[in-house]
């Protein structure tokens, strides 16, 4: 056959070699395309293949009180997450984790839904795993190769329920928040980040929130963690948030929480008249912010949203109540400012228990009447008839103008995410808008004694009393005085020093013998204040007690007031019985510690009388002229 001829073989060999060359050029070209032209892409893919990013949450800033005590800090907690994986292996991992972490089937289903939604992100299984569970997982590392255990700072609140409202609580950021401009910075805010939801935690969120870090782990094809990946600058440690120092007194908060009646709702606000900073801000019922750390359980959440007691509602800054007699000082301030009344002047009509204006009879809280009183006595005895006439002298229009100027229809501007402004008519058209009629001059009688369309927050009344305790000006209350935001505009009452001294003297007499709150007077300090008994929708119909107010200030004897405290107890009855002791005790507690004097359990005159003989420091009151006991039913 023709194979024999060498030339034929040579020709065929050439064809075979050409074919061989073509095949190898094809192979070489295919590898060139992958390894040279597309190498960069594939290097990235190989990296993504084996590197998994794990976010390291940053610890939130520590919150201190005015004395440097920690109110909120962080303790090491542990989070258990699963690396991204196909659904089946996530399901299998969850089933293996279930006995360790105590996951019920419903929880597992929820987690699977989340895993489907956030494909490609690590799945947080337990944000706050128990130490025992972590120990089990670490011991059996080999059996849980796809499980990531993160040290994750866990928020801890020292004050518990005492500071719940003012500090607020934290929780995982939700979709709506992510869309807000405050949370636009994606390097700090992304899914799974824990943010402040209310209170100081929310107000100063941008300070307290740190910058999360990242670390990379190497994984194999089955998602098993091989080890930390150290060969990159992309490993960034978390930066903790800023520490902030509040003006709050943590122990005062705790003290107030302790003495506030368990079964009643209300609020207590303590301000430092020196600069308007907040010493305590308490709302009852309260909640413990620690319960929200790592997610609150549904039953507890439902409890906190109880429509009757509304524990999440911060009554100190959101609740609005008729200020009642505590507002008489505002009437007095306006009248003195306008010069329509002199401090030593007595009204034309002495108090006989009623006052007739127009065709209507207006009653004083004391049926027997107070007789002819001047301003000091009117404040001391809270005489309604006096203030009816004072109101008439001011006139409705001027009362509305002045109260509006002072700011009774504005919010205080405290550094909390939410605050309600007081309700006060800014002009006569208010009645037309709200009630549908033109106000008669008689409206001023109600307003002058703190009733009518006048509702104020406890914080607002506290700010007003700060103005009285100072020189008539009141800076906006601040919880974080050194905070970044400029303080809101303060108040200015425009009062002469004499007028202020008169008002303070009137307040002093309230806790003097014969005053409505004498039993709350203190051994070491001058306590001035004003009781108030505010009507509420239920009490008007006789279904419940009135709201009890006491707005007071206290300081060393003969000195300037160093603390202003306002207490409101809803349905507490008379202000002197329930609210005044809270204010007196809170002021005493704060002042004793400020002046380094041990706190005793017998604080007010009431305790002294109940536990022993009449103390020497308290003058015995003159027997009341009418023979009826002082105290109860004081308005």
């Amino acid at each position: 056959m023709s194979l024999d001829h060498p030339l034929v073989r040579q020709a065929r060999s050439r064809v075979a070699l050409i074919g061989l060359g073509v095949v190898f050029v094809l192979l070489g070209g295919a590898f060139f395309r992958l390894q040279v032209l597309q190498a960069t892409d594939f290097v990235m893919t190989a990296r993504e293949n084996r590197l998994r990013r794990i976010d390291l949450p940053a610890p939130r800033g520590t919150i201190y009180d005015r004395y440097g005590r920690i109110i909120a800090d962080n303790v090491p907690g542990y989070a258990v997450s699963l690396l991204p994986a196909p659904q089946d292996s996530i399901r299998a991992s969850l089933e293996r984790l279930a006995p360790v972490l105590g996951l019920d089937p419903a929880q597992r289903e929820r987690l699977l839904v989340r895993a489907r939604r956030d494909r490609g992100l690590p799945l947080l299984v337990d944000g706050d795993a128990a130490l025992e569970a972590i120990a089990v997982l670490e011991e059996n590392r080999v059996d849980f190769p796809e499980v990531v255990i993160d040290a994750r700072p866990r928020r801890r609140y020292f004050g518990g329920a005492a500071v719940g409202h003012v500090l607020g609580y934290i929780g995982e950021i939700d979709e709506e928040e992510l869309a807000e401009p405050d949370y636009r910075d994606r390097s700090r805010y992304d899914r799974g980040v824990v943010v402040g939801k209310t209170g100081i935690e929310r107000e100063y969120e941008s300070l307290l929130q740190g910058t999360p870090g990242t670390r990379y782990v190497e994984v194999d094809a089955r998602g098993r963690i091989v080890g930390d990946f150290l060969g990159t600058s992309d490993n960034v440690p978390a930066l903790p948030g800023e520490d902030i120092r509040l003006s709050l007194d943590l122990e005062l908060q705790e003290f107030i929480h302790r003495i506030f009646p368990d079964t009643l709702n209300g609020a207590v606000v303590a301000l430092d008249p020196a600069d308007g900073s907040v010493l305590a801000l308490y709302s009852a019922p309260s909640f413990d912010s620690n319960e929200f750390v790592g997610g609150i359980d549904e039953a507890r959440w439902a409890e906190l949203n109880d429509p009757e007691r509304t524990p999440l509602y911060n009554r100190a800054v959101l609740g609005r109540f008729a200020p009642a007699s505590t507002w008489k000082l505002a009437s007095a301030a306006i009248a003195l400012d306008l010069g329509v009344v002199r401090p030593d002047e007595r009204m034309e009509v002495p108090c006989r228990g009623t006052y007739t204006f127009g065709n209507r009879v207006w009653r004083c809280w004391k049926r027997d009447g107070h007789g002819s009183v001047d301003l000091l006595e009117a404040i001391q005895h809270s005489c309604d008839v006096y203030f009816y006439q004072l109101g008439l002298r001011v006139g409705l229009q001027r009362l509305l103008d002045e109260a509006t100027r002072i700011g009774f229809s504005r919010p205080c501007g405290i550094d909390l995410p939410q605050e309600n402004p007081g309700i006060f008519p800014q002009g006569p058209d208010y009645w037309e808008r709200v009630f549908g009629y033109t106000p008669r001059e008689g409206e001023v009688l109600s307003l002058a004694i703190g009733q009518g369309p006048n509702q104020q927050t406890p914080l607002k009344m506290a700010q007003f009393y700060v103005a009285i305790a100072r020189d008539g000006s009141a800076p906006a209350p601040r919880i974080f005085p050194d905070g970044p935001a400029p303080p809101a505009e303060g108040w200015e009452l425009n009062l002469s020093q004499e007028a202020l001294a008169t008002m303070r003297e009137g307040l002093r007499r309230v806790t003097a013998p014969g005053g409505t709150a004498y039993l709350s007077s203190l051994e070491l300090w001058d306590l001035f204040g004003k009781t108030g008994t505010g009507q509420n929708p239920l009490s008007v119909r006789g279904l419940a007690e009135d709201d009890a107010w006491f707005a007071g200030m206290a300081g060393p004897r003969g000195g300037d007031p160093e603390v202003v405290v306002v207490a409101l107890v809803q349905h507490g009855g008379g202000g002197s019985a329930v609210a005044a002791p809270i204010v007196a005790k809170a002021a005493d507690f704060y002042l004793r510690r400020k002046h380094l004097i041990p706190v005793t359990s017998t604080q007010t005159l009431r305790e002294h009388i109940m536990t022993g003989p009449w103390p020497a420091w308290a003058p015995r009151p003159a027997p009341p002229p009418s023979g009826s006991p002082s105290g109860g039913g004081v308005r």
Binding site: M1, L3, R9, S13, Q35, V36, A39, V219
Partner: protein
């Protein structure tokens, strides 16, 4: 020159070198070919060792390189033995070898088991501690049978009719291998057939006609494309003076129509994993976590190796278990990942030189039987090398086919070295030095 002087030159490098070269020539017969193969085998052992260096070591893979070395020793023994067999004896034994191969393939279908990378098929026969793939032996038998048949003809095949017998000789073992099913090895038989026919002098155009039903098989998935293809085939037949080869032309057309017709049922008869492999070849992303996973991970491994590679033992795709079958079918992905494009080029150069050497040797020998053996081996290895290396980068569909001398696999290494022994014998049978 005195005795003293002669004793001194004994120690000269020149004299010793001459002795070593002589010994080498006597033992390995064809040093260029054998050294290339030995180099590739040792390179393979190194890569198998690297393939065992994974994060979670699999015992079977970790020690594979040692077992491969043991097999290499056996293979060298087998090579030495086979290369001593005179070619006439080989020619005489071609028919029995072919017959034994067929019997073994039939036996495999009855008692065969799956193993290792192809656990789902029946490709292996287990005899006590021994396990081997009869298809490897059948390949050699087929090469010999085909060479014997074609060498005994006086003329080169010039008509399709003359291709029937060689076609059937190959189709028998091929069909049996397909029944296992082992699509990968089956392709090697096609390579053998075409290489041997080419070397026997069959016109390339005839070979193209013979191959024409294969494209039809695939193109028939779209009737319009298939129609255009049929028209092209008919046009080619017309230009090829169809009147002279009327019956052949009819056969080609019928075969093309038949291929197009059976392609659908044939596709449906494929196992779903086989279908998937073909589908993901067209687009790996259709099933990135399933059938396309291996291909994608292999391409990522090779691509991320870049020009210089990640360094020997340093491949991350391999280390963290992303690479499938990294010590057998996908060993070349490890080469690409760890040694980079330069390493790939070096390996391709070795394989290229090896195949070219077979062609050169075939060109040199006058004995048609010897030349056909060399080209048969060339065809088989060509398919193995092209398909195995090509599949790691998506050039051809993924089929289970090992890379000669480099992939781990004892019986495959042994039979490959037996083929080397046959090749060097075929190339040098006429030389006196072989005695």
């Amino acid at each position: 020159m005195g005795a003293a002087a002669r004793a001194a030159t004994e120690w000269l490098p020149l004299g010793r070198g001459r002795a070593v070269r002589r010994l080498l020539r006597v033992w390995v017969v064809d040093p260029p070919l054998v050294l290339l193969v030995l180099g590739l085998t040792l390179f393979g052992v190194a890569m198998i060792y690297s393939a065992g260096q994974t994060n979670v070591p699999e015992p079977a893979v970790v020690g594979a390189w040692r077992r491969q070395l043991v097999w290499l020793v056996l293979a060298l023994v087998a090579f030495t033995a086979v290369s001593r067999i005179p070619l006439r004896w080989v020619e005489w034994g071609a028919v029995p070898a072919y017959a034994v191969g067929l019997v073994l393939l039939v036996a495999t279908l009855v008692v065969g088991t799956g193993a290792g990378t192809a656990a789902g098929t029946r490709s292996w026969i287990v005899l006590g501690p021994l396990r081997f793939q009869p298809a490897e032996a059948a390949k050699l038998g087929t090469i010999l049978m085909l060479a014997r048949y074609l060498a005994r003809r006086d003329m080169a095949p010039a008509t399709l009719r003359e291709l029937v017998v060689p076609g059937v000789l190959v189709a028998l073992p091929l069909g049996l291998v397909l029944l296992q099913p082992d699509l990968g090895t089956a392709q090697a038989f096609v390579g053998i057939l075409f290489a041997a026919l080419f070397w026997a002098g069959t016109p390339l155009f005839l070979l193209a006609l013979l191959a024409s039903p294969l494209p039809a098989l695939i193109l028939a998935f779209d009737n319009r494309i298939w129609g255009v293809y049929i028209v092209l085939v008919l046009g080619a037949l017309y230009l090829w003076r169809y009147r002279l080869f009327f019956s052949e032309s009819i056969a080609v057309v019928v075969a093309n129509f038949a291929a197009g017709t059976v392609s659908r049922p044939l596709w449906d008869s494929l196992a779903s994993y086989q279908q998937n492999r073909i589908l993901v070849f067209l687009d790996p992303q259709v099933d990135p976590r399933g059938a396309g996973y291996h291909l994608i991970q292999s391409m990522v491994a090779v691509g991320s190796g870049g020009l210089w590679g990640k360094g020997f033992l340093e491949g991350t795709q391999k280390r963290y278990d992303f690479l499938p079958e990294q010590h057998t079918d996908f060993i070349f992905s490890v080469v690409g990942e760890e040694l980079g494009y330069l390493g790939v080029l070096a390996a391709l150069l070795f394989f290229g030189l090896l195949l070219a050497r077979l062609v050169r040797l075939a060109e040199r020998v006058a004995d048609p039987f010897a030349g056909l053996i060399l080209l048969g081996i060339f065809g088989a290895w060509m398919v193995h090398i092209f398909v195995n290396i090509g599949m790691t980068v998506g050039l051809v569909p993924v089929t289970g086919i090992p890379l000669p001398f480099v992939s781990y696999g004892g019986s495959f290494l042994l039979m490959s070295w037996v083929a080397v022994g046959l090749a060097v014998r075929a190339a040098h049978d006429d030389e006196r030095s072989l005695g």
